[in-house]
Symmetry: C2
Subunit: 184 residues, 2 copies
DNA sequence: GTCTATAAAATGATAGAC
DNA sequence: GTCTATCATTTTATAGAC
């Protein structure tokens, strides 16, 4: 535990700044200053700023689904879990001050790095499958086919988060939730 | 016409780079080089890089709705226009190589500038009202209330575009269109 | 492994000639 | 209004002492 605290402090600080301010606008200088570590310590643990970015994305992906599993655990049925998934994202949206999805943010900032894209796709594809499994298990009014309904939920959800970032409000995500309920 | 070509070339080049690469990653140096103008000419027309960004957003907003009006003009009914609105965005998405919404991109890169936020909100709010007016005029199956249906369309649309940027595909926007059709 | 000091390049912006 | 030359900072990254 003790010996890894420097590396952790670097990644914690970088993650916070990458998300709050943006990746390109965050300089190595600010990271080492706020993490209170030496310049060369950063490069000892992370060969380049890009490596630090990839580590941030990897950890965010893992933590995201762990947090989701924990959040959904108390709910008994797949139907309840599906609605709770909207609440999960609305809660995060508020806590993170409407800055939106980590993976959307980095996509919007990055044009060429395939390693970044790979991680973004993996994250969203896993969410898509997660929703599909829940819809399949839930059963519903049959208004739409299973996979179409799952896609609808994903579209509504992502739309709600991205509009939330632009309006700095959860209104659209709350609407998305209500619409999802009415389709289930 | 002639005397404004320098200013136009600056804004054209900056717009292209801001969108393709990102705002913060695009330097003044690259803009003046690719626009083939002198450093001080840029600062003569635009007092700062931020002013150039705001000019880019203002022009994009105007051009966006002009292009939309032109695209929808041939369609007779509000119902057709609503579906065509999805096609409009899908067409742009493909032409712009799946880089997503200009206003989402700058939101994801900007954390503090209120002048930027103001323009983003204005753009999306106008789209929201645009859709509402069409839904009101279209009439529909009554599955959802008018404004709820309009919000659903906006959510589906934005979800489709943002997923399109992350997967570099129009699949999700196409799905959004089909779902919208089934709700109309 | 962590540190200080420094390098080489790029950043946004300005001065002053024409 | 456009130009060249230059400014002070800041950028990512490395060298070498401890």
């Amino acid at each position: 535990m003790r010996e890894s605290t420097v590396k952790d402090r670097i990644l914690d600080t970088a993650s916070r700044l990458f998300y709050d301010q943006g990746y390109h606008v965050t300089g190595i200088n600010q990271i080492i200053e706020e993490a209170d570590i030496a310049r060369a310590s950063l490069y000892n643990h992370f060969p380049s700023k890009t490596d630090l970015l990839l580590a941030y994305l990897d950890r965010t992906h893992i933590e995201w689904f762990v947090a989701l599993d924990n959040y959904l655990a108390p709910f008994a049925t797949a139907r309840e879990k599906l609605i709770a998934l909207f609440d999960f994202r609305i809660g995060r949206q508020k806590r993170l001050r409407y800055k939106g999805c980590h993976f959307n943010k980095i996509t919007a900032e990055t044009s060429t790095d395939e390693e970044v894209f790979k991680r973004v796709k993996m994250h969203k594809e896993r969410l898509r499958q997660y929703i599909r499994a829940l819809v399949k298990e839930a059963g519903h009014r049959g208004l739409l086919e299973d996979d179409v309904l799952a896609d609808t939920f994903l579209l509504l959800m992502e739309g709600g988060i991205v509009l939330g970032a632009m309006f700095r409000s959860s209104e659209d995500a709350e609407k998305a939730k209500r619409i999802a309920e009415s389709l289930l």
